[in-house]
Amino acid sequence: MKSLRRNDLVMLGIGIVIFAVLQVLITERIMSSFWQLNVIIIGINVIMAVSLNLINGYTGQFSLGHAGFMAAGAYISVVLTTFFHVPFALALIAGAAGAGFLGFLVGIPTLRLRGDYLAIATIGMSEIIRICIMNIDYVGGAAGFKGIPHNTTFAWVFFIMLFALFFIKNFVNSDGGRACLAIRENEVAAESMGVNTTKYKVMAFTIGAAFAGVAGGLFAHSFYLISPNSFTFMQSFNYLIMVVLGGLGSITGSIAGAFVVTFISAALASWPEFRMIIYALALILLMFYRPQGLFGYMEITDYGPFRKILKKGGRDDG
């Protein structure tokens, strides 16, 4: 078990090195402002993908409404910072709490549904959130919310992303995470092993929604203006693509998925019509040759070189 703690420290170290390198590239203006923004978007998308993976990949509950929770977090936090001048950190926490609470409320009735039905119900839920926002003049309605302070920096995104990754990694490697995996594998058997399946489904949904809320807050404060149209169903679908591409049930996969998808969209920004074709082609090829996603259920720590670095790394070692 000591090596688990050691692994965490090694991973944290690697994270800080990556941060330092990117931060230097940004402050020395080696990276163009276009790519600076995209690095931030990648970080936000990693939070979105990994939190959606907790619901879809680990717990096996097919949700397609992640953008709705992101919208809730975004609007709660921008109202607090712009109108009430609440410190950024507090506004982010409030956004997370609000989105998490919404996830909890929505989760209790909808998580009785399975598969396609749950997917449809969650799409409906996120559309309701979006359309509600669109009709509230206080937050700018359909025209969008203007005058948001530019609080989101690379450091904020990176460290919150790191926190989200550690939080979800630790959760899935604990008893609660095992309960979620058991639900995904066989609900009847999970129940008969003493797992309160409703409780853990709602828990996974709430945690996922709360992180989507934080990501929403970070996203909103990267721009001067946000509009409800940034949080459509297509956006939810985008996050699902990241998760499926990387592998349902792999944190490493979600990071890779978020990175690849964001990178492709950014690189093809000047040819938007090709972007969708390449997306679609990539997905078709993936389903043919690697339906379990890039990483399947594996983590980067399960692979050879990393096992050596981390000595007895991986989740099953003590």
Binding site: M1, L4, R5, D8, F166, F167, N170, F171, S174, D175, G176, G177, R178, A179, L181, A182, E185, N186, V188, A189, A190, E191, S192, M193, G194, V195, N196, T197, M203, Y297, D316, G318
Partner: protein
Amino acid sequence: MAEPLLKCENVSEVFGGLKAVSDFNLYINPGELVGLIGPNGAGKTTAFNLFTGVYQPTTGTITFAGESLLGLKPYQITQKGIARTFQNIRLFAELSVLDNVKIAFHSHVKYGLLESVLRLGRYFGEEERIEEESKKLLKIFHLEEHADEQAKNLPYGAQRRLEIARALATKPKLLLLDEPAAGMNPQETKELMDMIEWIRKEFGLTILLIEHDMALVMGICERIYVLEYGSTIAEGTPDEIKQDPDGAIHAIKGISLTVNQGEIVTLIGANGAGKSTTLRTISGLLKPKTGSITFQGQDIAGTPAHKIVGLGISQVPEGRRIFTEMTVMENLDLGAFIRKDKDGIAADKKRVFELFPRLEERQEQVAGTLSGGEQQMLAMGRALMSRPKLLLLDEPSMGLAPLLIKEIFSIIEDINKSGTTVLLVEQNANMALSIANRAYVLETGRITLSGDAKKLAASEDVRKAYLGG
């Protein structure tokens, strides 16, 4: 005597008008090893589902260690100390063998969400303890080398053992085993028996098990309940059950039916009504407890199956049972096994090929590679090769496409026209009644209706129950 650990009084479970379990009574004392036996569909698994909260009883009470279990969810019942295995294995297939067991410690984990995500306090100590105890359980069940494999990749017997290991990890007082020996070979079953005895002592368990393997049940159970049509019909020690006439399970009771020469008679009824049992009793695979069976004036009750074939009764069993490793031709030759007349055999083979041209095209093909419909044809052809006077057909339409069913039934009519009497058991009551002269309706082992097939097909009761309204 101490207070029973599990007590179940006058429990009934009704599914949409059908009583799966009725007035079911059972008690289990602490430390006992009790068996629950009975035919398929008797309600054994339903009883397990009632004890574990998967179903709620329609009436009656269930108490465990003095507390009522009514209204509790399955996970709450597990926390109270009842664990179970499943008849159709329900492992967490994609997860490792070790994780399968670790999950089952869920109710005994002493750290919360915050401690797990922040890796504080009791997290490490608890995880270490769970890992250690899980490995200990895997060792008991000889699964320790498989710890890191995915559960779905285990051999069948090992999957059954993992189910028991996982159930034990919930630290139960009462362990419910649903057909633990299903699909195991005799050697594995023997090892399983020893293992059940051992874990019972080692963990101080009370065990209730459902099993069809009578050697296992009679060998290790201290008391046995016999379930039939949802109620307990006998209870006692293995020796008492063996001697108790009520203890014997009546799949069919007091059935009287006649089949006249040249007729097609059909026997229809729900699953588990006793249709196949009736056929198997006529063909000599089963011996009737009481009553007589007369064929052409000769009493054949209790005559061995192979002699009955010689008398002119041939059966096409449910699920075809062709010799899958042999060619079509070899299958047909085996059908004529008891005959010595070479010319007659050749003539009959020709007749079979006339009835089933597809078999002629495929005479050298290995039977296992035939389609379902062709296998049914082969099973019928094989039965005809003994030149039977009476052909017993058990569910010839099972698993076939509608068009093929039509074809098979028109062939049955042809066989009948050429002078073979037919007794047909069929789930597809519509088809069966359309070609039969007369019909019998079987319900829970008794004949409830009989008469002209066309009249029965028109009757309100039959339409509702078997023809889909």
